[in-house]
Amino acid sequence: GALRGARRAVEVPLAPRRGLAEAAGRRSTRQLKEAEEAAPVFQYVGKAAKRKDRVFVWGFCYSGALGVPSFVKPDAGWKKPRRIQPTPYRLETEEKISSAACGYGFTLLSSTTTDITKVWGMGLNKDSQLGFQRSRKDQTKGYEYVLEPSPIPLPLEKPQQTRVLQVSCGRAHSLILTDSEGVFTMGNNSYGQCGRKVVEDEIYSESHLIHQLKEFDSRVVQVVCGQDHSLFRTKQGTVYACGWGADGQTGLGHYNITSIPTKLRGDIAGVNIIQVSSYGDCCLAVSDEGDVFGWGNSEYLQLASVTETTQVNVPRHLPFKIGKIKEAACGGTGNVVLTEEGNVFVWGYGILGKGPNLIETAVPEMIPPSLFGWSDFSPDVRVAHVRCGLSQFAALTNRGELFVWGKNLRGCLGTGRMEDQYFPWRVTVPGEVVDVACGVDHMVSMVKSFT
C-alpha cells in the first residue's frame, strides 16, 4: 500500500467512543454495522482525476544520460555512485514530455508546450549536442557532461507560438523538429550531419551554434538521426538526407558526405513515405501502401534479400511477402518491422529475439505473438509499436506493456538482470507505457499512470 497520496479526512476517530453506561465486551452485529456506517470515508482521488504522465529511465548512469545527478554525484556522504540503473527509475520533469530521443550517451526530452523552454537535454555534451550549457562555476565555459535535464535555448522567431514536435539524437548530433520553424540541428558537423557546410578544424565543444533548416519541398514531419547522418521526412512523403555516406546511408547515389539536405530518389522516388527509421548505418522507410525500402549498410544481411553488395547507396525496395507493413525500426545490426496484422518480424544479425540459435537471417522471421502476451485467454493483445536501439529491440503492446530483447549492454534492457535477453521479456513499469526511446546503453519511456 505505498500509493497513498494526499488524504482528505474528517477528524472523527474510527471507533465511536463508548458511552459510560454501555457495557464492555464484544459488540453485537448491529453495533458493528452502525460503527461501520459512521466511519469516515477517505478520498484519495476524485472522480475527474486525470492520469499522470511520467518519464522512466534506465541503463548506464555515468554519462549523465539518465538525468538523475545523484547517480553520478551522490547527495549524501554514505551513498555510492550508481553505475547502472537496471530497472525503470522515475524521472521528475516539469512539463509533460511528448517526445524523447536517446543518443550515444545523451538524451533529449521535448514537450509541446508554448512556454519558452521546450527541450531539455542531459548526458554527454562534448560536441554541444545539447547546445551550449553554461557552467555555473565559470561563466565562459560550458559543461561537458550535463547530469540533469537542462533547458536547451532555441533561437526561435516566435518562441511563444512555435511548438516542438519531435527530437532525435545520433552519435554526436541532435535534430529538433518544430511545427512552423523547420528543423534545428546542433552538435558535431564533421560529416555535414547538421545540414550545414563542414568547417575545417571546427571545434564543436562549448559551441553556441544551432543551425536552422527550412528549405524542403514541404513541411518536415519526422526527423531521424543515424549514427553520423540525418534523415528528414516531409509531409509530401519525400525523404531528404545529409551527413556521412561511406555506407551509402544517405541514399543519394554516392559514398561521399553531404552537407546540405538532399532529396532521395531510387526506388522511393514518387512514393509516399510515411515513416523513416535509422540508428546505426542502415536506413528503412515505409510507404503508405505497406512496402518497405532500405539503403545503407548491409554488412549484416539487412539488405541481403535484394543485393549482395554490403553498401547500398540508393533506396531499394525490399520485396518481403509478410503482409502490409505498418512500422519499421532500424538498429545497428538488426531490423524489425511491424505488420498491419500486428505481427513482428526481425532480420539481420545479432540477438534477434527467437532464441540463441537464430543469429542471422536475411529474410524476416516472425516472433510468435505468444511471447508478447497473446494467449487463448487474452486473444486481442497486439503489438502496437516497435523500436530499435543499437543492439536491442523494444515492442509496445496495445495493453501498454513493454517488451525488450537483445544485448543487455550496461543494463539498458531494464529487466533488472544483467544477462542478454534472447526472446521478448516484459519490463515491469508502474503504468501504461505510451512510447519508448532506445539508445546505445540506456532507454527512456513515456508512461501514463494507471489512475
Partner: protein, 269 residues
C-alpha cells in the same frame, strides 16, 4: 458401505468326513468346498472400520467450490499426480486452479474479506472497468515474469525460448503463489468479479490480491467470495453438491473420474 452386500466368502477345500451311513460310522474323507470360517461376517466383524480419506489442495473455511478428496488408493494417486514436478518438463495441469473471486470496492478490512474488522472506507466513483483491466494486465505481466523466473530454466537456451513460445514454462517444485491468468468477468460498481487462474496459491492470497487491486486503484477493496471452479482435471461439473453427499453419488463420481485421472497420470509419468 458396511450394509452393502460384501464379497462372497472365500471357499477352500477341506477333507471332511463323509456323511455317516446308517449305523453312524465314518467311512472315508470327501473333498468339499466350504466357506472359510475366518471370512464369516460374525467372525470378521464389519468390513470397513477405517477409511483413508485425504484431501487434495486446501480450501479454507470462507471459500467454496471444488475440493478434491482421495479415498483409499486414491490418496496414492493424488500424491503421484502432485509429484509430477520431479519430471523434466513441468506439467502444471495438476497444480492449476481456477477461481471466481468476488470483490467490493469502498472498504478495507484487516483480513481482506468483508467479514473482517473495518480499517478504512474510501470513495470509488473514479474507478472504471478500463482502469481495472489495466491493473489486471500488469498483474498478469508481473506474475508471468515470476513464472519464468521460478522455472529454473536457463533463459539463454533455445529450449527456454521454445517453452516460452508454447507457454509451457512452469515452476518446478516450490514457488510462491503465481497467477497465470486474471480477467474481469463482471463490473458493476461497487462490486466486481474476477476469474483467476493460479498455481501454489492460498485463498487468503487471493483475498490479498483483491485488497491490493483496491490500493492500486487508489481506493480499497474487500473480497466477498472465493469459489474454486477448477482444480487440475476436476471442474465444477464433477463436483458433488451438498445434497449429493451419499454413497451412491460418491461411487458414481469416483467411477466417472477414473478415466480422467488415469489419462492425466499417464501424461505425467
Amino acid at each position: 458401505l458396511n450394509a452393502a452386500p460384501g464379497r462372497p466368502p472365500r471357499q477352500h477345500v477341506r477333507f471332511l468326513p463323509a456323511s455317516a451311513g446308517d449305523d453312524g460310522r465314518v467311512t472315508g474323507l470327501v473333498a468339499t468346498k466350504v466357506p472359510v470360517l475366518a471370512d464369516h461376517p460374525l467372525v470378521r466383524g464389519p468390513r470397513f472400520r477405517h477409511l483413508k480419506i485425504g484431501a487434495g489442495h486446501r480450501l479454507d473455511v470462507k471459500a467454496s467450490g471444488v475440493f478434491v478428496l482421495g479415498i483409499g488408493h486414491g490418496n496414492k494417486l493424488l500424491t503421484d499426480l502432485y509429484n509430477c514436478h520431479l519430471t523434466k518438463v513441468a506439467f502444471f495441469l495438476p497444480f492449476f486452479k481456477a477461481y471466481t473471486v468476488g470483490g467490493l470496492f469502498g472498504k478495507a478490512t484487516d483480513d481482506f474479506s468483508d467479514t473482517g474488522k473495518l480499517v478504512e472506507k474510501t470513495t470509488f466513483d473514479h474507478i472504471t472497468r478500463e482502469k481495472l483491466e489495466r491493473i489486471l494486465a500488469v498483474i498478469q505481466g508481473t506474475n508471468h515474469k515470476a513464472l519464468l523466473m521460478y522455472s529454473n530454466i536457463d533463459m539463454k537456451t533455445q529450449e527456454a525460448y521454445e517453452l516460452a513460445v508454447k507457454g509451457l514454462i512452469r515452476p518446478m517444485g516450490k514457488s510462491p503463489p503465481i497467477i497465470t491468468a486474471i480477467r474481469c468477468l463482471q463490473f458493476t460498481l461497487p462490486e466486481f468479479q474476477l476469474e483467476i487462474h493460479c498455481l501454489h496459491e492460498t485463498q487468503q492470497y487471493l483475498r490479498k490480491v483483491v485488497h491490493e487491486i483496491g490500493l492500486e486503484l487508489k481506493s480499497s477493496a474487500v473480497c466477498t467470495q472465493v469459489r474454486r471452479i477448477r482444480d487440475g482435471v476436476f471442474t465444477l461439473d464433477d463436483a458433488l453438491l451438498r445434497t449429493q453427499w451419499n454413497l451412491q453419488s460418491v461411487q458414481k463420481a469416483i467411477w466417472d473420474c477414473q478415466l480422467k485421472v488415469k489419462t492425466e497420470l499417464e501424461r505425467t509419468l
